[in-house]
């Protein structure tokens, strides 16, 4: 869920300046911290990690005058400290719904979502260059028994190490996931 920030555009500019004197690098650092915080919250079972990250950024931005006077360390460390507090408060307020309960309630929704995900995946695969599409399909198409064997063969075919293949698949997977997420948002 999106929420309106409590800080002004000027406050936000000050935050960026605190992150780095260079505007472009500051923007990159902001995005980097934001992305990492989203993951931190998502991996702690937060249902809407983006919203909690907004809360962290709100708090840091609104206290920036004070922080700049008293805090001399890395901004990332400060963000982390605030994020921990926000997470603790969130955990006190929220009770985690067990997986089974979620599944039972939303069986129909799940099947619709999975159909939508499949349609979007097909579209996103088509957007990939043919060689990348073939690579991702080949990487995932192996059976349990031949998993290692097939991946060894793929790496040999491409003339790369297993580790390089793994990283290539990781990048491809990330771009596919982003594409699918955008496609699902449009479909909703």
């Amino acid at each position: 869920m999106n929420r309106d920030p409590t800080y002004s555009a000027e406050d936000f500019q000050n935050l960026l300046r605190w992150l780095d004197a260079d505007q472009q690098r500051a923007g990159e650092k902001y995005e980097d911290i934001r992305q990492r915080l989203v993951k931190l919250f998502a991996w702690q079972h937060v249902s809407d990690p983006e919203q909690l990250v907004d809360e962290v950024i709100d708090r840091v931005t609104s206290r920036l005058c004070e922080i700049e006077k008293t805090y001399k360390g890395e901004p990332g460390v400060y963000f982390y400290a605030v994020a921990r507090n926000v997470l603790r408060e969130h955990e006190k307020q929220t009770q985690v719904v067990p997986l089974e309960d979620n599944s039972l309630v939303s069986y129909k929704q799940d099947s619709e979502n999975s159909r939508r995900a499949e349609d979007c995946l097909s579209q996103c695969l088509l957007k990939l260059p043919p060689e990348k599409r073939e690579l991702v399909l080949a990487y995932y198409s192996d059976s349990k028994e031949s998993k290692i064997e097939v991946r060894n063969k793929l790496a040999a075919q491409l003339g790369v190490t297993q580790e390089t293949l793994r990283v290539r698949i990781f990048r491809l997977r990330l771009s596919l996931e982003k594409c699918i997420e955008a496609c699902i948002k449009i479909a909703e």
Binding site: R36, A42, G76, L99, S114, E118, L121, L125, P130, Y140
Partner: protein, 226 residues
Amino acid sequence: MSQRLAEEQLIRRYFLGDLPNNEREHIQKRLVTDHDPDLFDTFLMIEGELLDDYAFGFISHQDREKLESGLLLSPHEHRKVAFVKALNQHLTKNKTLHSILAEPTVVPLNRSVQSLDQNKGSDADCTDSRVWQRLLSEAHSNRTLIQSLIDGDWIGVEILFELTSVAIATRTELSSLLERDDLAITDALSRLIHNGLVEETVGRYSCSSLGSEILEKIQHVIGFKA
């Protein structure tokens, strides 16, 4: 053990919820404060691989339970699992489609309903439900494939015919040859590509070998000679 491998194992234990509190705190702090992009990527890579293994069933029962009572409580992770499952389904369907022509024991696309019914009889005697599941899955794939040919007033078949006669064509050329609007051609091409009947190389389309075989079958069934 290399430092990288040790780090990967530590992250894996983090996702499985196997780390004691102090180590968990430490690794979470590094996640946010260590600006090494490789470390963040390693987190994402291990997360992805664990969820792949979960979705494809390549994980021990114990680890499956740990994921279900931990990492997978997050809706964010559910979406990632949905992605892998969609990929798995896509692969299964594509595999089935290509097996239609490759395996003589599998129901071919143009087999009559009568012979499918005969199959049903013999399979029903067999207690192995996997045969039926396979037949149903193939039927589903056949349906998708047929739809890609007949939807939009048989535009898919028309495109295949055109592509076999001109070998390669752009979307605009197809649109003009078939006197159909660009949108209809784009949609039909997407469906044909999705079903492996047409191939695209830098905006130029050609009939795939599967497309040619299907077209031959259609020509055979309707007694048409090009």
